[in-house]
């Protein structure tokens, strides 16, 4: 065995906003050996190739551009004293808190007192969405499109269809326009959530209740076949299609380490202290709940610093925490485990998703027949966008009790 073996205090996997936030806060709060491994050649995560504003602010176009945000968060982690190593991929586990990594310098085996998984999320590609048809050139996800346009300056095409109505679809449209591509339409199989006029973005119509039934053309895309809600079918001529949203956490490393997943989010199950079921293994960011804003991912990273320090000091790890589950139309909730230590999730609220639009949802939380919370939200909730549940009731939940169920009353 020719692996260089080492020990660190905290090993962070992934230098996106979440991992960098965790590393900065941990190092700043006095943890000595904090090491971040990032498989890409530069740190920063997804924002590296998001050339629009909107990072580090809650306003749609406030804050800085993605690359600038990536630079700042990288610099902050380094300044705090964390070790950042790029071009190093964590490939698997050799023990409960021992990870194997590959880089140009060779193979390593790093044992940590605490591990932070912050591996992010990806958009489901066309194949994972089981969209039939030919396999032509001109098929993208937003992630690939942004890198093609902003990093590699590649030729994209002339006319594009965007699939998906999540906010990332707007970023895709902006990227396409920056590359000189006309956006023919955005399509989603979900119903309209807004008055039609608001659904337009720079003139490209949003076709709701519209399902992509096939891709046509070979070797290049010539059109996207769709079926409308009323059963009509048509083909939208285009040479480019971008599949946006429909996120899936990059949970492979977690699963290879037998870190149990939450069935709703498909990310590691975790409590408000960002502890997974695996002792010493924490997680943060989009790995836990697919895509939130970068600021949310970074805040989660920072928030786990205190519980990590507690764990480093005591070695304690809770057992048998009651799970949180949601009932349809809710799709998932994060965090999704209760905890015994009175920790509250970031911003003192849970993040949820709904599968269909809700005008003023009445959220009800129950455990073992007991109602812990009931309140009507003032804001409408939409699919693909965060819906928040205040965490005030969390202290009343029994971590050793039955499953906590969240429903729309």
């Amino acid at each position: 065995m020719t692996r260089r073996e080492r020990t660190v205090d905290v090993l962070v996997v992934g230098a996106g906003p979440a991992g960098l936030g965790a590393a900065a806060e941990l190092a700043a709060s006095g943890v000595r050996r904090v090491e971040v491994l990032e498989r890409e050649q530069s740190a920063g995560g997804i924002p590296r190739h998001c050339h629009h504003a909107g990072f580090g602010s809650s306003r749609p176009n406030g804050g800085t551009s993605g690359p600038e945000y990536a630079r700042r968060s990288t610099a902050a982690a380094a300044r705090a004293g964390a070790t950042l190593r790029t071009g190093i991929t964590v490939t698997g586990w050799a023990g409960p808190r021992t990870l194997d990594a590959t880089g140009p310098g060779g193979l390593e085996r790093i044992t940590a007192h605490a591990v932070v998984l912050a591996t992010g999320a990806r958009e489901r590609p066309r194949s994972a969405r089981l969209v039939p048809g030919t396999r032509p050139a001109g098929v993208y996800t937003t992630g690939e499109l942004q890198q093609a346009v902003h990093i590699h300056h590649q030729h994209i095409g002339t006319r594009a269809v965007i699939v998906g109505d999540e906010p990332v679809g707007i970023a895709a449209a902006d990227t396409l326009r920056a590359a000189g591509v006309e956006v023919v339409a955005r399509v989603t199989d979900r119903p309209a959530a807004l008055p039609a006029a608001l659904g337009r973005h720079h003139g490209a119509p949003l076709l709701t209740r519209t399902t992509v039934t096939a891709l046509a053309g070979s070797p290049r895309l010539t059109g996207v076949a769709v079926r409308h809600g009323d059963g009509r079918t048509t083909t939208l001529p285009c040479d480019t299609v971008v599949f946006t949203g429909d996120w899936i956490p990059d949970h492979e490393l977690a699963r290879r380490g037998d870190v149990p997943l939450d069935p709703g989010t498909r990310g590691p199950a975790h409590d408000a202290a960002y502890r997974t079921h695996a002792p010493g293994v924490f997680a943060a960011g989009n790995l836990l709940h697919a895509v939130e804003r970068a600021g949310t991912a970074a805040a989660e990273g920072r928030a786990l610093a205190a519980p990590v320090r507690r764990h480093l000091a005591t070695g304690a790890w809770p057992a048998g925490r009651a799970a949180l589950t949601v009932a349809a139309p809710l799709e998932w909730i994060a965090p999704n485990l209760t905890g015994p230590d009175g920790d509250r999730p970031t911003g003192n609220r849970f993040i949820l998703r709904t599968g269909r639009p809700l005008t003023a949802p009445l959220l009800v939380v129950r455990q073992d027949g007991l109602e812990l919370y009931r309140r009507r939200l003032l804001r409408p909730a939409r699919p693909g966008r965060p819906l928040h549940l205040p965490a005030d009731w969390l202290d009343r939940a029994d971590p050793h009790g039955g499953t906590v169920r969240v429903s729309v009353g």
Binding site: R122, S127, I248
Partner: protein, 473 residues
């Protein structure tokens, strides 16, 4: 030896003294490349002409990738013999050259009384085909061998020598060895017409005329059309489409064997099989079509596969799908290959290589070379080919990213470019500098796996395209 590989824009080379090729093979699928490799052993001027921009770019790139034992072939057919022989030859060749193969074994699972009743006859058929290692299993043995199988399996037949193989490395190895031994490979070179001659045939190709003394038609789905140029009307290829779903690597632990359906009156059914890349395949469908380009997947096909897959391995359906693809079998309405030599015309048709051509490729090549002598060619004395080592793409082998010595010698093998498939910068560089470099992102994927993973390019797609485009002419 200089290598001759030409593509769009290049002129076809003139041979010394304006001589024609001795032998030309039409079609660089797994069959045509295997034939070219076999011919490369002889002192012949051989050309391999291919319509597409890469070798192995037709049916040969889109199959189920099983190295069959031939246990269930129709006894006594040419196909039965060539599959049996091809399996032996290709297994040995794969071991020599590093083509990934995993001997996972197959299990035919009976889900109802009719299927259960069919198993003893299948066992007898295997024995009639000279395969003696198959064995009947009861329900408990099946459950023990495949713990994640859906409920209701009544019994099974175990065929321990069925293996999975890399469908892309195989024709690439054949073509590489052929080109290195002097075979001329002409890509982007569709044969549009043939003027059969008394000593020399003239082919009209998309890149000009090509003259050859002997001709071998290995054009796969189009073998019937080439055959008609000789005035024959012997067979018609009717494509039989097979759609397949590839599941992510996290599904690999759900299955240990190739899970074959038991063929009954109700049809052939679909299989679940591991791949040498560590994925799981579900498929194929069997749809009779008349369009030789209809390699698209359909809603109905995907739905059917999912329904069958849920029965076989319920948990498979919870895993992420990496890819969906379809291939076209060259069916001809006859349960056998259509290999026919025409001595007077110095021509051999290699048609109807339907659903076993990957396995049988090397035996087909040997058989066809034998027939060539019967059509009047004295091929001369065969020589040994230079040994070849192919990149180890298989999940079971030690991949470069796990090879400390290799990385110490060359750090490029420690830099991952495609994260899902764990392909390194060193492997991509090697592929781009190989005897037959890729000319598209898809060609790079077939040589290295790069871009073939669960993210389908979300992370590395743009970067890979930059590498290919940077490599262009």
């Amino acid at each position: 030896m200089t290598h001759t590989v030409t593509a769009a824009g290049d002129p076809l080379p003139a041979l010394p003294g304006g001589a024609p090729y001795d032998v030309t093979v039409i079609g660089a699928g797994v069959v045509g490349t295997a034939i070219a490799r076999e011919l490369a052993r002889y002192p012949l001027r051989t050309a391999l002409v291919e319509a597409s921009d890469d070798i192995g770019n037709g049916t040969s790139k889109a199959n189920t990738a099983i190295l069959h034992t031939g246990f269930d072939a129709v006894p006594g057919t040419l196909e039965a013999r060539l599959v049996r022989e091809g399996q032996r030859r290709l297994s040995a060749y794969a071991a020599d050259t590093g083509i990934p193969v995993e001997r996972v074994g197959a299990l035919l699972v009976a889900w109802d009384a009719e299927q259960l009743a069919a198993l003893p006859a299948l066992l007898a058929k295997a024995e009639a085909n000279g395969y003696r290692a198959a064995r009947l299993l009861d329900a408990d043995e099946v459950a023990e061998r495949e713990p994640h199988l859906g409920p209701g399996a009544l019994g099974g037949l175990e065929v321990p020598d069925e293996s999975v193989i890399c469908p892309w490395t195989t024709p690439l190895a054949f073509a590489t060895q052929a080109v290195r031994a002097g075979v001329h490979l002409h890509l982007d070179c569709p044969v549009r017409d043939i003027e059969p001659g008394s000593t020399v045939h003239t082919l009209t190709t998309g890149r000009g005329p090509l003259r050859t003394r002997f001709l071998i038609n290995a054009a796969g789905l189009y073998a019937d059309e080439i055959d008609r140029r000789f005035g024959h009307d012997v067979f018609t290829v009717t494509p039989r489409r097979g759609q397949l779903i590839v599941f992510d690597k996290l599904a690999r632990d759900l299955v240990r064997h190739i899970l074959l359906p038991v063929p009954t009156s109700a049809g052939k059914g679909v299989l679940v099989a591991p791949t040498v890349f560590g994925n799981v395949l579900l498929g194929p469908t069997a749809e009779e079509l008349d369009d030789k380009t209809a390699t698209e997947s359909t809603q109905e096909g995907i739905a059917l596969l999912r329904e069958k897959g849920r029965r076989i391995l319920p948990r498979l359906l919870d895993e992420e799908v990496t890819a969906v693809y379809a291939g076209l079998r060259a069916a001809t309405g006859q349960e056998d290959y259509r290999i026919q030599e025409y001595p007077g015309r110095r021509y051999i048709a290699v048609g109807g290589i339907r659903s076993t051509g990957l396995t049988a490729s090397m035996a087909i090549a040997d058989h066809v070379t034998g027939l060539l002598a019967r059509t009047g060619l004295d091929p001369g004395t065969p020589a040994e080919l230079e040994p070849l080592t192919m990149p180890g793409l298989g999940e079971a082998a030690e991949r470069p990213y796990l090879n400390a010595e290799l990385i110490a010698r060359d750090p490029a093998y420690g830099t991952l470019v495609c994260h899902c498939e764990r392909v390194t910068a060193g492997e991509i560089r090697d592929a781009l500098a190989a005897t037959l470099p890729p000319r598209s992102v898809a060609g790079l994927a077939r040589r290295t796996r790069a871009g073939n993973g669960r993210c389908q390019g979300f992370h590395c797609g743009a970067g890979l395209r930059a590498l290919i485009e940077g490599n262009g002419p």
